[in-house]
Every structure is written in C-alpha cells, then in structure tokens.
C-alpha cells in the first residue's frame, strides 16, 4: 500500500484543458473520492494516475516514487472499470487470476490466491461459471476480485457502481466500504453520485471544469463548502443562496437580506462591498412568523421523515427541510429564520466562500484535528 501524491497535474487534449493544476494527497490506506459532474476531469485524473493517459504537466508520486511517465503495468495498481471489463472468453476463475498470470506466478499459487479472494468477496461458488451469465452485482465482485487479488499499491475505481440498479448500488456501497475497512488499501474512487461519495469517502475532492474546487472530509465539504459550486453540487436539495449587496464591517452581528435582518455570528473582519450570497442548507431553515424574511409556500415534497418546502420569496425560491408533521398549504405566507451558526458566505463574482469573515476557521481546524 502506498500514498498517492499528485502535484500540479495538468492534462490538455488539444485546446481543451481537461485537468488544470491539480494538487492533492491521498494518504496510505485512505478511501479517496473524486466527485464532480460528467466532463469535470475526474476520470482523466484517475486515468493519469493509472498510466492510461500521460499528463501534459505535473507529477504523480506513488509511495514516494515518481511514476508520472511510467507505463500502466509498471505502476503496480489495480483499476476497476465502470463496465467492469471482464474478459468474456474466460470464466470467473481465469478473470480473477489474470493479473497473477502476468507476474508468472505458479498455477498452484494462483489457484490458492484466487480462491482466497473469491471467499473474501463471497463469490467462491461462482469460480467456474462464465462471466457472461453473472448478475450485475456478481460481475462487480469479480471485477473487484481481479483488482484485489494482486495486492497492489492502490485501487483506482471509475464509477464502478454506475451501471447497477439503485437497490444493488446501496448494497455495494456498503460492501465496498466494508471491504475497504478490512483490507485498508489506498483507494481512489471516481463518481458523480454525491451519496456514494458521502457514504464511503474518508476524503473527497470536488471537481468542476478540470479544477479541484474543494478537498476535504465529507463533513467539511458539506458544512463548509469552499465555493458556490460545491454548495450547489452537494446536498439534495442544494444549498439556498440569498443574494445581497454591500460589504461587512467587523463587529456587526447582522446582514440585511431582502430588507430582513439576518443574524450572523460576529463578523470577524471587514469585507469590501461586493455582490455577495449568503448560503444556508434547507435543514437549517425554520419557520418563524416573527421573521421579516417572508414568502408564500409554492409547493412541498413529502419525504416521510421530513418534507421539502419551497417558499417563494422576493429573491426567488428558498427550499427548507422541515419535520414532516407540520401541516402546510400552498399559498400560505410564512416567515423564515436561518440558523446563524450554519451560514456560509460567498463572494458572488469569484464564487468562493469568504469563510474567515463569519467563522473562526482556525478554531474549527484545531477542534477537528484535536
């Protein structure tokens, strides 16, 4: 097992820049997820780590060795493809043993290793079956088996659950994470599905347009999005943005949005006037008739334990997640209060969070690494 260090990684296809200046470190034994919409460069990054694409610039270090320009087979990594890429002309046993065959391992040893691996994945009863007859989940397990049988330095997975149906996917998410807990292999996992990312990852990198927007734990990414893109991409429904103009002065404890005063934790520094946005997750909004921030209910989505209420305000629709018991009718006028501890502040022009203005980020970091 090994740590993966990506430095100033860049990839251009002609004029199109797929990945620009990526930097991140995947620590030894960590489950790292690259998350982003399609075309954001996450798969290209993964393929560069694998050696299937050569970078235009930058460096990739695997366990301290520079592998940037090495061939895929010289890197000692395993890759799980979205479409599994199981060899249709081989049975399950041969598929799993295929990487060991390349190393010239004696067939008796291959046999033992393949059987061990199959047992670990609970597919030992399928070993002599043809791969073409397997169900989606079992194909996935065979593909995983082919990856782990070799005990490589790290695992790279490219949307491996993308083709499974939802029910199976939840099961496999659980299985994958459990497998990871058992073998503790450095894993880079690419997906566009935030639920997969949130439930499996130790660390997430959110990518967009070839740029890593944010790198952090699922909690950091959800609670303290670094950019408006991340805030919008993560969370369902996404974060609400309340636009306002003007600057902030150090020491003030409120921001005026749509004529309503919104309480914030003490502003810690002056912010020059600009177009700003206040971000708030739906679950951090409560109904409060005394509030000046008002709107009419536009519609509700009943989800069983909670419900999503869309409220039409002067500044557009704000979605709130409230307990399912509350009875609401479309057209009702309601007031909204925002949980001041959970606000995020963004500068609209750059889309970046102005974190230091309302949060004691240094203290948060100390608390997290406590």
């Amino acid at each position: 097992m090994a740590e993966i260090r990506v430095q100033h990684l860049r990839k251009a296809f002609g004029d199109f820049v797929a990945v620009q200046d990526s930097n991140f470190v995947v620590e030894d034994g960590e489950f790292f997820v690259m998350l982003g919409p399609s075309g954001c460069g996450k798969t290209t990054t993964l393929r560069m780590i694998a050696g299937l694409e050569l970078p235009t610039g930058g460096q990739i270090l695997l366990g301290g060795d520079d592998v940037t320009m090495l061939r895929a087979r010289e890197r000692d990594i395993a890759f799980v493809f979205q479409l599994f890429a199981l060899y249709p002309h081989m049975n399950v046993r041969k598929n799993i043993g295929f990487p060991l065959l390349a190393q010239g391992m004696p067939s008796a040893e291959i046999r033992t290793r393949v059987e061990e691996t199959a047992k670990l994945l609970r597919i030992d009863h399928l070993l002599d079956k043809s791969v073409s007859g397997l169900a989606g989940g079992d194909r996935q397990r065979v593909a995983l088996g082919r990856a782990i049988v070799r005990r490589p330095k790290c695992f790279l997975m490219d949307e491996p659950l993308g083709t499974l149906d939802t029910e199976f996917r939840d099961l496999m998410v659980h299985e994958l994470r459990e497998l990871h807990n058992r073998i503790r292999a450095t894993t880079v996992y690419v997906t566009h599905d935030q639920m997969e990312a949130m439930s499996m990852a130790d660390k997430i990198a959110v990518m967009n347009h070839g740029v890593i927007e944010q790198f952090g734990s699922p909690r950091e990414i959800y609670d303290r999005p670094a950019t408006m893109f991340v805030a919008d991409f993560i969370g369902s429904p996404p974060m609400n943005f309340l636009k306002f103009g003007g600057g902030l002065t150090k020491g003030s404890k409120e921001i005026v949005v749509q004529g309503a005063k919104v309480a914030v934790p003490e502003v810690r520094e002056d912010v020059a006037p600009a177009d700003m946005a206040l971000g708030i997750r739906p679950e951090h909004i409560r109904f409060d008739d005394a509030s000046k921030l008002r709107g009419a209910i536009y519609g509700t989505e009943y989800l069983g334990t909670t419900q999503i209420v869309a409220v039409e305000t002067a500044d557009g629709i704000i979605k709130a997640r409230v307990p399912a018991e509350i009875r609401l009718n479309a057209g009702d006028h309601v007031g909204l209060t925002l949980n001041s501890a959970r606000l995020s502040l963004f500068e609209k022009g750059s889309g970046r969070a102005v974190r230091t203005a309302i949060h004691d980020t240094a203290a948060e970091r100390r608390a997290q690494h406590g």
């Binding site: 050696g51 890759f79 890429a85 002309h89 390349a102 190393q103 007859g133 082919r146 070799r150």
Partner: protein, 316 residues
Amino acid sequence: MSLTTAHSVVAPSANSKRIAGAIIIAYALISIVPLLWIFATSFKTPPDSIAYPPKIVFQPSIEGYCNLFTTRTRQTPEYINSLGPATGFCDETVRKRNMVIAGPSNFLPRFVNSLIIAFGSTFCAVFLGTLSAYGFSRFKVPLADDLLFFILSTRFMPPIAVAIPIYLMYRELGLSDTALGMILLYTAVNVSLAVWLLKGFIDEIPREYEEAAMIDGYTRLQAFWRTVLPQATTGIAATAIFCLIFAWNEYAFAALLTSGTAQTAPPFIPTIIGEGGQDWPAVAAGTTIFLVPILVFTILLRKQLLRGITFGAVRK
C-alpha cells in the same frame, strides 16, 4: 448482459410461412441444381455426359476422376492386350477406351498451388488487416481518415484493369509464375477489405479490456493477443472467408500471371477439356474437388460468419 432481445414482430401466419417456404425452396433449387449437375456429371462416363436428352439416371463411374488425375496415351488394342492384368479400376477403365495411363496429370500440383496461394494470401491479408485495423482503431494515427480512404481507394478500380502493368512488373521482378507473386498480389487486393471489415469489428470491442490487461501487468501486444484477438474471432473468421473466396476463385490474374509451376486450379481446370476430346466428366470432377475446400472452410466457420455478417444489427 443476460438480457434477451424481445422481438416485437408479430408471429408469421401459417399461410405466409408456407409462401416463404415455397420461395426458399424454389430459390434453393435454382442455386443448387447447377452444382448437383456438375456433381452428377463428374460421375458420368464421357458418352453419358453428352447424351441427348440428358440422362438423369445413369450408371455412376469414376472415369471422370481417373481422367482428371492422369494423363493417357492412345494405344493399339494389340499393345494393350500384350500388357499384364490391369492394376486397379482406373487402369481398367482407361484400357477399355484403348488408352493406357502415361502418368499423373498436373491437377494435383495445381490444386496444391491453389491451396498454398489462397490460404497463404488469406493469412497475410487477415494478419496485416488485423494489426492495421487495431492501430487505426486504438491510436491517434496522423491523417487516419485519409489513410483509410486511400486503403479503400485501392478497391475503386477493378483489379484486372491493372493487369498489364502488373504483368510487366512481375516479369521484371521475377515474380511471374511464382507462388510468392500470387500471394503478394491477392494479399494486396484483399488487405483493404480486411482493414475496413476488421476495423469495424475492433471498434466494437471496448478498449477497457486492453487497458485492464495493461494495468494487470501485460504489455500492449500481450493485451492485444489475450483480450482483443479472442473477442475479434468472429470478425476475423468472416474476413478470412471473404478473402479466401476471392483468392480461391480468382481467375483472370491467375490465367495471366501463372502458366507453369505456380498455376492455380481455376486456369487449369478449363485446360482439361482439351486433352482427348471434350472430357466433361473430368472437368466436372475437377470443379467438384475445387469446391470442397471452400465448402469445408465455410461450414467450419459458418457460425462466426453468420454472426459476422449480421454484426451491428443486434446489440449485445
């Protein structure tokens, strides 16, 4: 995927099935009767073969095959009677026509030439075609489209249009009447077809297979050999049959460029007719034997061929 394609086509009625059956039988008869006629003629005696009205029922004889494989000389009955007892059926049959067997004919070596040249050129065309198709399919080849068009353009002209220049070139290069020359020629004609057909097949094979193999520790060539080739067998078989059929049946170049040692069966078979009258059974026997290899090859590969020809029509 284990999904089976559901056919939404309405099941044909009994009546339309009957009509379809009748059409198929009629078509099969039209196609098969000439072949059956050749096959029957090859077992007729020369007089039976030119009898009018044609004989449908006749006493079968292998005289045609005897004549095909031998050369004979006419002798006086006295001389023939002075010989010892006939050694085998052919000897006996020939003697009845006042002839003796002088030696083997050229049919067998010509047939062997055909086998060597047709299979040799098919192998070369498919080998080169597979590799170039793989290259075009997987790598960024500069001017790939233009190159592919150029390869296709070699088929624009009927090959025979360049017969004279090729004849002259081959004479200069010493390739006239050599098996190598014919293999090169047929390979050149077939390779464009092979590249285009195989590129289609290889494009259909996801490149993840080789990528997986390369990550698993194989070189590109090993990955190609172990993962791409086994999945391209359908396409390779289909391509091989098309190439073989062309090379096996080719007459014009063979007639022009080969006359002796490298002569193939197609230009040889018609020459049988001149030896000792119009020997239709011998010609028919030669044709029948000539049909066998391609028939066997096609039957052996028919599963692949069928899947190959209909490829792309059904998604897996």
